[in-house]
């Protein structure tokens, strides 16, 4: 049949408002038109192409025409030839659901699904075309606060997700082809747009669907990588107006955060930094919401494994990320018995894997893992004391073993694992000393600690002075033990020796779960977070003027008036070495630097 038999008036082809019979006729006519292209007669075909390229939302008649054409094309997919009908195909793949009314959207989506399922040649193009919708056009981004735009967004994205699911049902291998495309179309970090947030929201929605069963791991990898990249782009030192290079780890601006103040932004690069901070904040919140919904559906356990894999891949080895790691913290806080326990155990396993014979030495990784573990155990409000005690015991045992079998090298770099392990133990005890010492069983598990700290490798001299000082102060006050040499650090927050063991990544000053600096993210975290100001140390914080050093128990000479412990406890307390210095002297006590709530080398006096 040649084109001459086809109707010359295109509008009659569409026959709007019709019954089944004329639908079939329409399909037949379209098929004829497509077939006739090969014979060189393409008038109708050209008109089809023109109709598809019209982009006028408001014209209802055109919309109806387009609708009918798309439906007819869905019925003639088998007649579309990839070579002869290039123009109409590129027209179809160039269309966007954002430009059309819902009924046209439906027709277009059906056509795409038919194309994808009917021939393998169009599958990739169809998937790409659908994924492109995850990046809304600029006019949508600019008006996201308007109600009708919100409705439009919902209309488009729900249809896109529905189409992706239907295609994966009809073509089982589609998800595996989809994933690399998702990675490719992930928007680059843009200073002004928050397009990446919308894209990631859609990615997470996919993770929740059946496609996520196949590709959830890869989706989390993409998201984690993007979070990390954005995190690293932000110059946190610039933000916090810290011109000193030495304060590498975070400051506890808990007062500002608790009052809901905005983060003080430096005058330089204000716009770009603020834009990136907002993007990162929104991304984190989107991820938190997703994790919460996973938890509600009982999937968090399964998701956690994938989450940890992507954390291990991208975050564990990145020492400058300030915020991304809180994804793990949040996931653990949602499900402390399962995920919370698993996170700690996995980190500990990584640290302990240093004992197994390995082809490569990954000292930085092991040190990073133990630093994460320490920060996690210290800050996780939802972690029961028994769990913290168990973890501490294993760390103590590991360090004790190391001390027994170590070699004679006295350089700090040779024993990085021991020092990072000891510092981890001391850091956790700075936060948890009181609760651990309150339970005799946990207290007795810490007995080997004394010999470790007294070992010839001298962890107390090498580890970060601020941590050591606070630890010792609390240890003495709690009666854990008393160390004979006095450790006077003269306001040092770090020392050459600690720098030596920390290495070039400064793992000696690495406390990854220091308070989150982003406002919205922090509001999700703060309920489960232990701030330093919340910690009740074994000594009395306000008590600097007191002459009465009743809390410091010194080898049976003094008795404690305030801490009236039973005789048994008192006997246990006497695991101390005869002190040369007595802490009755106020001057000496002052020389011990207390752990400041603002951990940074500052020229201004500390505020309490």
């Amino acid at each position: 049949m040649g084109a001459s038999e086809a109707l010359t008036d295109p509008s009659s082809l569409y026959n709007v408002g019709n019954n089944d019979l004329s639908d079939t006729e329409t399909v037949l006519n379209v098929r004829n038109a497509l077939a006739s292209v090969q014979n060189g007669e393409s008038d109708l075909y050209d008109q089809f192409v023109e109709t598809i390229q019209i982009n006028n939302r408001s014209d209802d008649a055109l919309g109806a025409q387009l609708d009918a054409l798309l439906k007819a094309l869905s019925g003639s997919v088998a007649c579309i030839d990839v070579n002869h009908h290039r123009r109409i195909l590129s027209g179809i793949f160039g269309m966007s659901l954002w430009d059309h009314k819902p009924h046209v959207m439906d027709a277009l989506v059906d056509l795409i699904i038919s194309l994808a399922a009917t021939s393998g040649k169009y599958l990739d193009n169809c998937l790409n075309m659908l994924i492109r919708h995850f990046v809304p056009p600029p006019w949508v981004i600019d008006r996201l606060w308007q109600n009708r735009v919100i409705v439009q967004k919902q209309d488009v994205l729900s249809r896109v997700h529905g189409a992706l699911l239907k295609i994966s049902l009809l073509v089982p291998l589609a998800p595996s082809r989809l994933l690399p495309m998702l990675a490719q179309q992930l928007p680059k970090i843009n200073k002004k747009d928050q397009v990446v947030v919308i894209y990631v929201e859609n990615l997470l929605k996919l993770e929740n669907s059946s496609i996520g069963q196949v590709g959830g791991g890869m989706i989390f990898m993409m998201v984690m990588e993007r979070l990390r990249d954005l995190d690293l782009e932000i110059d946190w030192d610039d933000i916090l107006q810290d011109d000193s290079n030495r304060g590498m780890f975070d400051m506890e601006l808990e007062d500002a955060m608790n009052e809901g103040d905005e983060l003080p932004v430096g005058s330089l690069n204000q716009d770009t930094s603020r834009g990136k901070i907002e993007s990162l904040d929104k991304l984190m919140v989107a991820c938190f919401d997703h994790l919460e919904s996973c938890n509600l559906h009982g999937r968090l356990d399964q998701v956690f494994e994938k989450l940890f894999d992507s954390f291990e891949n991208f975050i564990l080895n990145t020492y400058k990320s300030k915020v991304s790691q809180f994804l793990m913290f949040y996931a653990c806080s949602l499900d402390p018995e399962n995920c919370g326990v698993k996170f700690g155990s996995k980190l500990l396993d990584i640290f302990l894997s240093s004992n197994k014979p390995r082809p490569t030495r990954q000292v930085s990784l092991w040190m990073s893992a133990v630093a994460y573990l320490a920060s996690y155990l210290a800050r996780g409000k939802f972690l029961p004391v028994s769990y913290v005690a168990t973890m501490l015991k294993r760390l103590v045992d590991e360090c004790a073993d190391y001390c027994r079998i170590c070699n004679d090298d006295i350089r700090p770099e040779a024993h990085q694992l021991l020092y990072s392990g000891c510092q981890a133990i001391m850091y956790v005890l700075c936060f948890r000393m009181r609760s651990i010492l309150d339970v005799p069983r946990f207290r007795s598990e810490l007995i080997p600690l004394e010999s470790i700290l007294m070992h010839r490798l001298n962890p107390l001299m090498v580890c970060l002075p601020s941590v050591v000082a606070e630890f010792l102060r609390q240890a003495k006050a709690g009666g854990l033990f008393v160390v004979s040499d006095s450790f006077i650090f003269e306001d040092l927050l770090e020392s050459e020796l600690s720098r030596a063991f920390g290495g070039c990544e400064r793992l000696d000053t690495f406390f990854p779960f220091d308070p989150c600096l982003l406002k919205s993210s922090n509001s999700n975290i703060s309920g489960n977070f232990i701030y330093w100001s919340m910690v009740r140390p074994t000594y009395d914080k306000d008590d600097d003027e007191e002459e009465d050093d009743a809390e410091i128990i010194v080898n049976g000479d003094e008795e404690s008036d305030e801490e009236d412990e039973g005789d048994l406890d008192y006997a246990l307390n006497k695991m101390s070495i005869t002190p040369k210095h007595s802490f009755k002297n106020k001057m000496e006590r002052e020389r011990l630097v207390k752990m400041p709530s603002m951990i940074r080398p500052s020229t201004s006096p500390e505020s309490l």
């Binding site: 399909v27 038919s114 040649k121 049902l169 073509v171 089982p172 291998l173 082809p359």
Partner: protein, 197 residues
Amino acid sequence: MEGLKLTNAELMVYIHPSKSGNKLKAICRELSSLLFQYDETFDGVLLAFDVTVKSKGAKILAGLNPYFGVKVEASLLLFNPKPNSLVEGKIVKISPETIHVIVLGFSAAVVTDIDIREEFKYRMRNGEDCFVSSSHKRHVLKVGTMLRLQVESFDEEVMHIAGSLLPANTGCVKWLEQQSEEALHMDRDDHKRRKIA
């Protein structure tokens, strides 16, 4: 179902030295990366494999990373539907113009209306789309039916089969098998009658 074959192959798998601790795992991992992909050497899509390590020695490749090659014997399950062969799959979607089928759980097959023989007509029954044979009322194709179809072409990249229901021996598997059983039965009866007579 045609198109499936089991072959034995002698393979040389090259493993990175870091994996020397667990060779079998490394070998399985290498072969797993080939699963559900069309391989020219094997001439088919690898669906499953079973591996035994043949020799204890291995040849070390000279180079920057001293990979070592382990000889293995593997039995491989391959899928390569040639044109005009028959495959079977489950119908997942029916529309007036197409029938969508999934073969072996991973390959998408499509039969378009030009490839469906005249006897099948599209009907909407009880809200369900189906194709009913006009000559045999009980021969119905609907969602969930196991369908036997003839392969027209096989797209190796996306594992897509273009199928046809034109030949008479294609259609619903259950119905076709019932038919052939009855035919066998009738043959036997005929035979008996002739014998008695």
